[in-house]
Symmetry: C3
């Protein structure tokens, strides 16, 4: 899969947003800083700026999604874009058109930005390689590859609560093997010079080359949580249970579920994160999810600002100007 | 179910719009007056005012609906809101999230107003009890409990054609037992001091405590229609036929269907209303539905103004200011 | 089916856009000229004009569609309309309402324009006959009758590349019998005084009265393509295969599929068009579809301008005024 050359132009400006891999610390920090300026937009009375006014954004969700799709749509509305949201599973592809045909037809409609979620790893790259100049692609999750806007809202959340990555121990718990979220998080945490990135999972849910990703691997949850500043729980896809990868939900919770007792092994001020939707009682105890160390709902809020930031950087505006209210 | 304390603030201002029960005559009259100022908006050339500009309204329809959902969406657009419409049956709840999780995640997206339709009675109250300060909930129909915006557009229609409630005989005909529309109408008619509210239905379609609602009960349609000023026909849910509650459609029409002959028992200038969608030939004869006493389509039109009124009262603007065109 | 009297007012102004049949050369030319002024809108940085500001357009797609529906929605957004898009198959009609009831209820919501696609020929006319004054209907495809906006974007494409219709040989290839697109194209090409309109199809896919439409009929593809300036391929509905009308896909391609070799029989600068979605390898070879004589994607682009043109003519604005940016 191509890496650093397609997302950035010769001056290092963001053209597409496809994966954290291939980006650099400076871009990641710019996204976080820009998002910070937009957080105030979402909180003020008139939540709108004209940055994407007269631009058209097409949301192509080949996989269903509530959280990601809704926050992208709200980000687009708050940037004043025109929006074309296609429920792609029920549209032209059912008439036998290929993904490339669908893309080219939409591009002919003068779409400025595509937000795409697709079950195939690499689909967002495929799109980006085929759109013409001036058209951008944002990856909203491609197969088991990456989910970069989720990772950036996670980084935003961590920076918001913990400030300095270089002092942090971050533990990611769960199905690393199948998780595009984990993959993007690990790249981002490393680019931002996180002191220690841990992954905690049973062997069956770890990629073979995990250590090469620059993380410490723990199979034991208690050991992995020790002194962590940030605990990120991953969603357990229930279909994994049906395969040979895992025993029962109950057994999974016993071994890898986050209870309050376990959380107490981490630092007293550790924060708990989850990309959602969570399986209460499977990977996380309800009381922890709703407890005062949980910042799970704040992640959702920050997701809008982060998506606004990425889209406005792509059109060449780094954040909010004075008097920028539309 | 909680009543008067949650919908109004200490100054009697509207915070949520959940049920007619618990509101008072002054609020109902303010809704009608405000709606009147918006009727002109829908009729003029540019049907838009900036009252909800930069606010976000989420439409959560767990039950399908064309009329109610479309008129809410149009009301929101005409108030210049940003709109997030979720087809909730196919979204996160299918991934096993609870209603409360869905709500909290959406609230984290800085939604200002929720419009919710749900098959469970009390769901709108449940939402209102759980949202934070500054966030409002509008009930677009909850189970067999209430459908307050429908009742208010009905009140608007009655006042438009008949002016003074204190002189009116209003007959509601059909499945009172299962009808959230009827429940809301009865409360509203009583709050507005209607001279006489009649319900006409077979025993099997009447709640046990009907009389305690402040209505006159008739099992005979002809008697109930006598000298009525307003005749409101309810939709007959066809699934009731399959239960033991009712005989055939034909038999129902013979006993409780509104024909022109029967309508002639009411006052000569009586108006005929129906919340829609109507079963022609079951609860109402086609010629009556399309006849010149029918104001059924006018109800739909007024529905937009009434919904605009409620939403603008909630954000603290009672109707249209001069020069308020966006 | 009514023809010329309902689409135009007494001064020849466009009221509805239902079929090419019944329109005249002057209106068609005005549509093309107006569309030309809008092409620049879609290409500029802020793709928006306020021509439909405060107007409401309802998109009623009883048949699914990506291309037509998306380009209509984008045209409406770029004209700044309020938009109500109903997935009609899953809405009120499932509760047993008739088409007319649905229409009247929507009309009561002060819709200014209806865009309707429906499997029944004549449905758009039916709508136009029943809406009140000031409300317009646009046909986005009705059964096997007409698809006039598709035909006009095709005319726009031809004029763009070939200028003068009076010198052109245009060949339409494929399932003429079932094609609303072909029917609209033939009317439009004749109204615009095309030198020669050819249809090329097996007998089983030709209407009985084809010659009376003012076209030359060819059963042999090679003969029909000879010296053509424009080659329009029609989509082959695969369900035709299952009937007795056609042999296999492979056999169809051998007889009526457009390969590069065959295209070489047309003029060297002939353009290739297709309304989409195309069946690659059935009616058209992939290399031709993606080749440099193909203008298939340009058709899609022009579709937005043409739809903007029709809608703005209906509201009484013939194209773009200076300073018309919203």
């Amino acid at each position: 899969m191509p890496a650093d050359n397609i997302q950035l132009d010769d001056n290092g400006k963001l053209l597409h947003f496809l994966s954290i891999e291939g980006l650099n610390q400076s871009i990641l920090t710019e996204i976080l800083d820009t998002a910070e300026s937009f957080t105030s937009v979402s909180e003020r009375n008139v939540k709108k700026v004209p940055i994407l006014r007269g631009k058209t954004v097409a949301n192509l969700f080949f996989e269903s999604s509530t959280r990601t799709r809704s926050t992208f749509e709200l980000a687009e509305q708050r940037l004043s874009a025109d929006i074309l949201s296609l429920n792609v599973s029920t549209s032209a592809t059912t008439k036998g058109e290929s993904l490339l045909d669908t893309l080219q037809n939409l591009e002919a409609m003068q779409i400025d930005m595509f937000v795409i979620r697709h079950r195939d790893s690499g689909s967002a790259y495929f799109f980006a390689q085929h759109v013409g100049p001036g058209v951008s692609v944002l990856n909203a999750g491609d197969g088991q590859h990456e989910h970069p806007s989720q990772a950036m809202l996670d980084m935003y959340t961590i920076r918001h609560y913990k400030k300095d990555f270089s002092q942090l121990r971050v533990a990611i718990v769960g199905d690393i093997l199948h998780s595009r979220v984990a993959r993007s998080q690990i790249h981002a945490l490393n680019l931002l010079n996180t002191a220690e990135v841990r992954v905690i999972a049973p062997r069956t849910l770890l990629p073979v080359n995990t250590e090469s990703l620059g993380v410490q691997v723990f199979e034991d949850l208690d050991q992995g949580l020790k002194d962590a500043d940030v605990v990120i729980m991953l969603r357990l896809q229930k279909e994994r249970m049906r395969g040979a990868l895992l025993p029962s939900e109950k057994e999974y919770f016993r071994l890898y579920g986050l209870s309050q007792d376990r959380l107490n092994l981490a630092k007293p001020d550790a924060i708990v994160m989850h990309p959602g939707p969570a399986n209460r009682g499977v990977e996380i105890e309800s009381s922890v999810m709703d407890g005062n160390q949980s910042v799970i709902l704040q992640q959702v809020s920050f997701g809008i600002s982060v998506r606004m930031a990425v889209m406005s950087m792509i059109v060449g505006q780094s954040g909010l100007q004075t008097g920028d209210e539309s």
